[in-house]
Symmetry: C2
Subunit: 222 residues, 2 copies
């Protein structure tokens, strides 16, 4: 059955691989499943057709036959459950990998998103300069703990898993903040993820959308 | 095998059922599994023994034989995977329920926690009165979308599932903020969760810890 995912028609990051469809693209590349992409505009994301697929009006979504899913954690987990290579077979190791998937999304990502979004919602306030360091310290608390746990290990719990895939992309959201660079082992961990052939294919695919979009803009300007 | 979870020795909420061990207690009560509770102090939570179980120094944790887990989403999912009654058997319905578990934890909970924590980290700043309404509006965006999707339904996707268990407890964190009361269907949804016998048993268990603690404090004061 054909797998169709949605992605931004014009990604706010211009193809730096920070949009959440990257998580699903990477997972599908790891397990070697082809997929189609339907691009949606910001306007379409808030319209009834898209809201029927994604009640919170975001991307990506995942459709396969009768099944429609949203939330990258759930989509990546669904892919991992139905294909080999993203979760260990041993039951306890699998439960621990799932634990790290939730940890990436519910413990590590929220303060990172909070810091990132603060610029959009209160970045123009005179007191933003006081708030930002507080939010950055909240990110550091989690990075300190994660760096301590990871230590010199290659991946979070033995072999590469769906949890590493999500954690690497969550950490990549710090790009440009300088925060990740304070943790050499976390920087190396992200670099290990980015070096995987499946990551590179996924990255190239999302970049092609951005480049195509820029090409179209250039053509319009002629 | 005995299941042991950890919980706060002195819960900051004084037994109102808002601490995260409530999620695990409720799940275990729904499937009828007995469990033991090891209480940990704030000091112990940051010590090596506890950090070995929970790298982010929080509660609850879950131990069963050789298996040690953290993150409530993962623990509740593990319980649901090994016992009947918390996730549908049909594969697509199961994938949708898992989607809602991730949505509760990664989309609905973060702005709620952000609002809640802001008081502790910047509540003493002269500009806090300007920040709080912005954070409340971010919570409302999610509540609007959730209320639209839920409509008149009893539960998120057909029968009660682990996703409802988590979503109800995530929404309960808004207690005292007045925000939930703006959404009559979400308030009814939370009340339906709280009316379940398993919820009531879980609530009573965590309250007993708080009451015992208060009893001990009273005794100390005599």
């Amino acid at each position: 059955m054909t797998i169709t995912i949605t992605a931004f028609e014009r990604s706010p990051d211009g193809g730096r691989g920070l949009a959440r469809d990257m998580r699903v693209r990477w997972a599908l590349e790891e397990v070697g499943r082809p997929y189609e992409v339907r691009l949606v505009s910001f306007k379409q994301m808030k319209e009834p057709d898209h809201l029927a697929l994604h009640p919170f009006g975001q991307i990506p979504t995942y459709e396969e036959g009768d099944l429609a899913l949203f939330e990258t954690g759930a989509i990546v987990f669904h892919i991992a459950r139905h294909n080999r290579g993203l979760l260990p077979e041993d039951d306890n190791a699998r439960a621990r990998a799932i634990t790290w998937m939730f940890a990436a999304l519910n413990t590590v990502e929220p303060p990172i998103v909070e810091r990132e979004q603060s610029r959009y919602v209160v970045g123009d306030k005179p007191w933003y300069g006081e708030l930002l360091p507080v939010l950055e310290d909240r990110v550091r608390v989690r990075l300190d703990q994660l760096a301590s746990r990871l230590g010199d290990a290659q991946w979070l719990d033995g072999a590469f898993s769906a949890a590493d895939l999500i954690m690497v992309l969550v950490l990549r959201r710090l790009e440009g903040s300088g925060l990740l660079e304070e943790y050499p082992n976390l920087s190396s961990y992200v670099a290990r993820g980015e070096a995987r052939p499946a990551y590179k294919r996924a990255f190239a695919s999302q970049l092609a959308v951005a480049n195509h979009d820029r090409g179209a803009e250039d053509a319009e300007r002629q």
